[in-house]
């Protein structure tokens, strides 16, 4: 049904030989176990890379913020402070892992896990490239939204279970913020789904072209506004920048993870940074053409036609190209997010809520209806196509 990374890899002879070896070793048809193994390896790779990205995220954030504030940022550890995140990681692990006395032990330990699980679960459907997405579920977007709401639960439980007033307030505010911003984010994604005609990332990205004018963001004015709403919602949902009230140092001493130390805090921080990357990835995939390489290089036809390279090799190269385009787009957005953090002032809680319910949600609804009308009126053509004919 939905093709996944294993299905992609299984095209290669190496995979077949591996499977035959496994089955001869195991004595029975090991296809199932083989796929399991491959899935396991793929997931391992993806998770670690993202962890790395998370770590680099902290480094990037400190460097960029320093750059914005006309200062250097970390440069001691490794060349240009590139290994700073490893130092932080080691610090996180070595720190003493203590728990408040009356904390709700079970929830205290479960909360960070929930957060991390919620974020990592979304990686399953993130469309790195046409082949490398772990599984291209045909309910991809729907699944992503559902799972990402776990983060809200984790934050809330974290705040509640650490048995202190600040964390409690931080948790409440964080959860309510995340839940309320889910509404505009979902509606804007729906607008794209209406255009794309399917819930899975594959179809949505496929519906876009390599060149910017074929991206959904420039498809029609409604989608452009939908991109902005999505981006703001994403910021709020990941408790970043102007919406980072839950762990605002000045008021709530760092919000819901005040009492957390050591690796639990590490989970929270890691979850946060990965979530930012994921959301940027989703934004890139839905609005900026995802892994689509300009001039269809990604599909490997060019190579096959011109350099008559073997189709398998061509697709492999194409995938890497697609991966490259997806990552660059996501990191660009990542930069914008970090950029926003040090430019916009923090929002008051009621302002936060007012923006969400009184402005973003209505706009998102209008966009959704607009896209639907656009689809019906111009039967799906992008503005550029209408204007310039092709």
């Amino acid at each position: 049904m939905n093709d996944s990374i294993v299905s992609y890899l299984s095209q290669f002879p190496a995979y077949k030989s591996f499977v035959s070896a496994m089955s001869s070793a195991m004595g029975f048809d090991a296809a199932g176990i083989a796929t399991l193994l491959v899935f396991f390896v793929a997931c391992f790779v993806v998770v670690n890379v993202l962890a790395l990205v998370g770590g680099l995220g902290t480094y990037a954030e400190r460097k960029i913020s320093a750059d914005i504030q006309m200062r250097q940022g970390p440069n001691r550890v490794g060349p240009y402070g590139i290994l700073q995140f490893l130092a932080d990681g080691v610090k996180m692990i070595s720190k003493e892992d203590l728990m408040p006395r009356n904390a709700d032990k079970f929830l205290y330990t479960v909360a960070p896990l929930l957060c991390l699980v919620g974020v990592l679960a979304t990686l399953a459907v993130l469309p790195f490239s046409s082949g490398f997405t772990l599984t291209d579920l045909n309910i991809g977007v729907f699944y992503l939204l559902g799972v990402s709401s776990l983060v809200g639960v984790g934050i809330f439980l974290g705040g509640y279970s650490s048995n202190s007033k600040w964390s409690m307030l931080g948790g409440m505010r964080g959860a309510s913020q995340i839940i309320s911003y889910e509404v505009p984010v979902t509606l804007s994604i729906l607008a794209i789904v209406v255009l794309g005609g399917g819930l899975s990332f594959g179809t949505l990205v496929g519906a876009q072209g390599g060149l910017p004018h074929e991206w959904f963001v420039l498809h029609n004015p409604f989608t452009f506004v939908a991109f902005i709403v999505f981006f703001i919602g994403a910021l709020a949902e990941s408790n970043r920048a102007p919406f980072d009230l839950p762990e605002a140092e000045s008021e709530l001493v760092s919000g819901y993870h005040t009492e957390y130390t050591g690796m639990r805090f590490g989970f929270f921080a890691l979850a946060e940074y990965i979530e930012v990357f994921v959301l940027c990835g989703v934004a890139a995939a839905l609005f900026l053409g995802g892994y689509k390489v300009p001039f269809n290089l990604g599909t490997g036809e060019f190579l096959v036609n011109t350099l008559n390279v073997g189709p398998l090799l061509a697709s492999k190269v194409g995938n890497f190209l697609q991966l490259g385009s997806f990552v660059t787009k996501t990191l660009l957005l990542y930069y914008v997010v970090i950029w926003c953090r040090w430019t916009f002032p923090r929002l008051r809680v009621d302002h936060l809520m007012v923006i969400c319910w009184k402005y973003l949600t209505p706009i998102a609804l209008v966009n959704l209806v607009g896209c639907a009308v656009w689809m019906w009126a111009f039967n799906g053509q992008s503005l550029f196509k209408i204007v310039f004919g092709h």
């Binding site: 049904m1 929830l107 309910i139 729907f142 639960v153 959860a175």
Partner: protein
């Protein structure tokens, strides 16, 4: 093979989640276990090939209902009278031996009856025939919703709107 594994995992998750909900003393834990149990049910949906249902289950319950429960607990705990040492809310009793014994009685009766029915169904159900392969149900459910069951669909939308407005109005503290 993959299906059986998933069934086993999610089945265990649901059952133990539900049992945990029954036996925890703390209401918050009950909510979390409920969340776990519902995720188990989502898993079961997947084993039954109902992927859209699983996603809907996750979105609705994980995202909405459980958080709602948690908020409700928070909003209803903090009276001075019930406040615990750290002004933590003292949640009313989650049932004691007496209530559980009564519950057990009820459950026993229900259990005997339903098992009788299920055995009846089991006997009459021939598990022989080949089950169809899993297909994506999203499109077909979508079409069904707006063709056969459009009335139910529209009414549920009105229902949800009503619930939304109602919940807001009811829970808003009166000005007086």
């Amino acid at each position: 093979m993959f299906n059986e594994v998933l069934f086993l995992l999610s089945g265990l998750l649901t059952v133990f989640g539900a049992l945990a909900v029954v036996f925890t003393k703390n209401l918050m834990h009950a909510c979390v276990y409920l969340l776990a149990s519902l995720f188990g049910v989502a898993g079961l949906y997947l084993t039954l090939g109902a992927d859209f249902l699983a996603a809907a289950q996750i979105v609705v319950y994980a995202g909405g209902v459980v958080v709602l429960m948690l908020f409700a607990v928070m909003l209803t705990g903090g009276t001075v009278k019930d406040a615990g040492r750290y002004a933590m809310l003292k949640v009313p009793s989650m049932g004691n031996a007496k209530t559980f014994s009564i519950a057990a009685l009820g459950v026993l009766v229900a259990l005997s009856m339903t098992t009788k029915i299920i055995l009846g169904i089991g006997r009459s159900y021939d598990a022989s025939k080949e089950l169809p392969a899993f297909t994506s149900t999203v499109e077909s459910i979508g079409t069904l919703l707006v063709t056969d069951h459009v009335l139910a669909f529209e009414i549920s939308s009105v229902l949800l709107l009503g619930a939304l407005v109602g919940a807001v109005v009811i829970s808003r503290p009166r000005k007086s």
